[in-house]
Subunit: 386 residues, 2 copies
C-alpha cells in the first residue's frame, strides 16, 4: 500500500470476500483498536485477545502497519513475571483528513490527524443559498489553505457535511429548503474534481453523530444525537455504526408527530416536534421546548432501545441546562413506566462533545471511520450452542 491508497475495510460493493478483503478487514480492526487505545497504547497480545486472532497474526499485521508508518512501538509495560509487553501506538500524524461543515451562513473547515484530533481550523462566512459556484470556490480555497498544515503527510480525503436532504451514496443534494437551485447538484463529484481528493458527503446530523460515535467506549454502543438549531434533526448510531437508511433519509426527527391534534406545522401536518419546540423557543419558554424534545427522545429510546441521548445544535448550546433537564426528566419518567429492566435506570442524556465544531469534526470522520473498521451490527443471530 502506498501513499494515498488506504482502501482497507474490503467488502466494499460486492459482498463476496476474498483474501485481500479479509486482510483489509483485520487490518482495519487492529487500526481501530490502536486508535481507541490512544496515548496509552496496546500490546500485541491485547490486540490478539480483542480481535480473536492469534498473536502471530497480530504480529504480522502490526509489522505491516509499522512499515507504513501508521503504528509505532512506544516503550514497554511493567513486567508481570515474564518478558514485558511492548506497547504499540497509532502514529496520528501519519495521515490527515479534512472535515468541511457547510452551514447556511458559515463554513467551518478542520484538518484532523488520524486520531481525529483537529490540528487546524478555519472559518469563513458563507451564503449557502448564493449558489454552487460561490460555495465551491470558497470551499476549495479553505481546503487548500488547510492542506498546508498536513506538512507532507497524505490527506486522505474531504468529508463534507450539509444541512438539507441529500444522498450519501451518490453525493447529490436534494431540494435544500430556501435554495431550490441546489436540487440535484452533484456536490461530491464537483468538489472532488476541483480538489483532486476523494470527497464524502453526508447530512450535518449524520456527520456529528459519526464523530460522537468515536468517543464511545466500545463498538457496541447505540445512541441518538438530537440537533436543535434553526431546525431539528437527528443522527442515529445503531450497534456502533451510523444508520443512514436506504436514501440517507434516516434521522428526520423534526417532523415526528407527538401531538396529532396539535398546531399545524410548516410541513402541512400537525403536532411535529420541531414546530412545538421552535415555537416554545421563540416565546422564550425553554422548559416547554425541552419537554417537546423529551417526548421525542423517549419515543426514540423506546423504539430503538438506544443506550444514550446526546444533545447539540446552536439553540441547545446557547442554554444547555433547561434542555438537559427537560429531556432527562422525560427519560426518567420513561424508565419508571418500564419498571427498570434489570440493569434499569434511565437512559443517560448528555451534551454532545465538540460544541460548535462537532459537525466539522464529524465530517472529517466520514473519511477516517472507514479505515478503522465498519463495526456493523453482527449477524441476525445464530443458534445458541445449546
Amino acid at each position: 500500500m502506498s501513499s494515498n491508497d488506504l482502501s482497507f475495510a474490503g467488502f466494499s460493493g460486492s459482498p463476496g470476500a476474498n483474501l485481500p478483503a479479509l486482510r483489509g478487514h483485520n487490518t482495519a480492526l487492529v487500526l481501530g483498536l490502536l486508535r481507541a487505545a490512544g496515548e496509552e497504547g496496546v500490546s500485541r497480545l491485547e490486540l490478539a485477545a480483542h480481535t480473536g486472532l492469534t498473536p502471530q497474526a497480530v504480529s504480522k499485521i502490526t509489522a505491516r502497519l509499522r512499515a507504513e508508518g501508521l503504528a509505532a512501538e512506544a516503550g514497554r509495560r511493567a513486567s508481570t513475571g515474564g518478558k514485558p509487553a511492548t506497547v504499540l501506538r497509532l502514529v496520528p500524524g501519519a495521515r490527515h483528513a479534512v472535515g468541511l461543515h457547510l452551514d447556511r451562513d458559515e463554513l467551518t473547515a478542520v484538518l484532523t490527524d488520524l486520531a481525529g484530533e483537529a490540528v487546524a481550523v478555519r472559518r469563513a462566512p458563507l451564503d449557502f443559498e448564493a449558489g454552487a459556484e460561490q460555495v465551491l470556490t470558497t470551499a476549495a480555497r479553505e481546503v487548500t489553505a488547510l492542506r498546508a498544515g498536513a506538512d507532507g503527510s497524505p490527506v486522505l480525503g474531504v468529508g463534507v457535511a450539509c444541512p438539507g436532504p441529500l444522498d450519501h451514496t451518490t453525493g447529490v443534494l436534494h431540494r435544500v429548503t430556501g435554495a431550490p437551485h441546489w436540487d440535484g447538484f452533484p456536490l461530491r463529484d464537483a468538489l472532488a474534481a476541483r480538489l483532486g481528493l476523494p470527497v464524502v458527503l453526508d447530512k450535518d446530523t449524520n456527520a456529528a453523530a459519526l464523530g460522537l460515535a468515536q468517543d464511545l467506549p466500545r463498538a457496541a454502543g447505540s445512541f441518538g444525537y438530537l440537533h436543535l438549531g434553526t431546525g431539528l434533526g437527528a443522527g442515529l448510531v445503531l450497534g456502533g455504526s451510523l444508520y443512514r437508511g436506504p436514501r440517507t433519509g434516516a434521522g428526520e426527527f423534526g417532523h415526528q408527530t407527538v401531538q396529532w391534534d396539535g398546531p399545524r406545522c410548516g410541513c402541512g401536518r400537525r403536532g411535529c416536534i420541531e414546530a412545538l419546540c421552535l415555537a416554545a423557543v421563540a416565546r422564550g419558554d425553554l422548559p416547554a421546548a425541552a419537554r417537546a424534545l423529551g417526548v421525542g427522545a423517549a419515543n426514540l429510546v423506546e423504539l430503538l432501545d438506544i443506550d444514550r441521548v446526546l444533545l447539540g445544535g446552536r439553540t441547545v448550546l446557547d442554554h444547555p441546562e433547561p434542555f438537559l433537564d427537560g429531556v432527562t426528566e422525560a427519560l426518567t419518567d420513561l424508565a419508571r413506566t418500564r419498571g427498570g429492566t434489570g440493569a434499569g435506570g434511565a437512559v443517560p442524556v448528555a451534551l454532545a462533545r465538540g460544541g460548535a465544531r462537532a459537525v466539522a469534526d464529524g465530517a472529517a470522520e466520514l473519511v477516517l471511520a472507514p479505515l478503522f473498521g465498519a463495526r456493523g451490527p453482527g449477524p441476525a443471530g445464530g443458534p445458541g450452542a445449546s
Copy 2:
C-alpha cells in the same frame, strides 16, 4: 462438515476473521442466493456476478454444497450462443428447522425445510401464564412430534417466539405482563436441554419480521412490521437485517407517544399509540384505530427512512381493509408533505404474508437465517473514488 454442524456465517463472537470465517461467509452468501433463486435456480456464473467472486471460486463452493447434499444441478438454461449454463438449486429437504410460537393461549409449531416452507404444522392450547414446567412439557411434546416429519434429515434447531420482553442474546425472559414468575427464566437453555437441540429465542414481532424479510427482493430492503393483536408491537428490518437493539428492546412501538396531552395509558404516560388504537378498536371504530396506527407508521417511515410497512396481528387480520386504508392514507399524506424526493411516491403498505402463522414461520427463520448470510448494513461509508 457433518450432520448437524452448519455453523457457517463465521464472524460470530470476536470480530477478527480467519480463513474458516471467510469460507463460511462466502458459503452462506452462495446459499442465500440459491435460496432466493428458488425453483428457478441460478447458474454458477450468475452466482459469481452477484457475489463478486470469480467463477472458479463459485465452482469450488458449489461443489462442496453439492457434496453435502445442500445444492443440486437441475437442468440447463437455453444457450445464448455458447455452452448452456447449468442451473443450480437449493435442495430444500436436506435440512429442517422448527419454529415455535408461544402465544398467551395457544402454541403453534411448524417444521420447515431449508427454503423456509412449512412441511408440517401443529397447534395446541396453551396457558402461558400457568408456569414454566407446563409450557416446557407441551413445547417439548409438540416439537418431538414434528421431528418425525423431517424424515431422517437433520433438524438444525428450534426457533422460539414469545410475546413479552426478553433477551435474545441470553435467551432469558423478562417480566412478562400477567406472568411475573417467568421473570428471569432461562427458557432457551431449559428447552435446549430437554430437546437436545440448539434453541434461539426472540420476540414474536422480531420473529415475524425476520420471516417476512425473506420475501423481499434483495438484501437492501428496510421495512417495519406492525403487529396489532392483544397489544401493539413492531419488528424492524433495517438494511436487510433484523434490528434488535442492544437489549432486544427495539420495536417497542405500542408506547410511542403521538398525543402527549392525550388520554392516560396503562403504562402511566399519555397518548400512547397502543392505548389510542385499542380504545378505538374496543368501541368498534376501526378507522380511528387505523388513523392512530397511521400516525405511528408515518413517524417510523420518517425517522428510519424505511421502504415498506407491513401489517399483521389478529386485530388487523380480522378486518384488514380499514387498517390498510388508514395507514395508506397517513403515508400518502406524509409523502405529499415531503414533496416527493425524486423517486417519490408514498411508502407502500401491505398485509404481512403468512396470516396467523407468520410468527411461527418466522421463528423457524431464527434458525435458518444465519445459514444464509447475515446481510448486515455495509460499512459506514468510504471515500468515493473521486
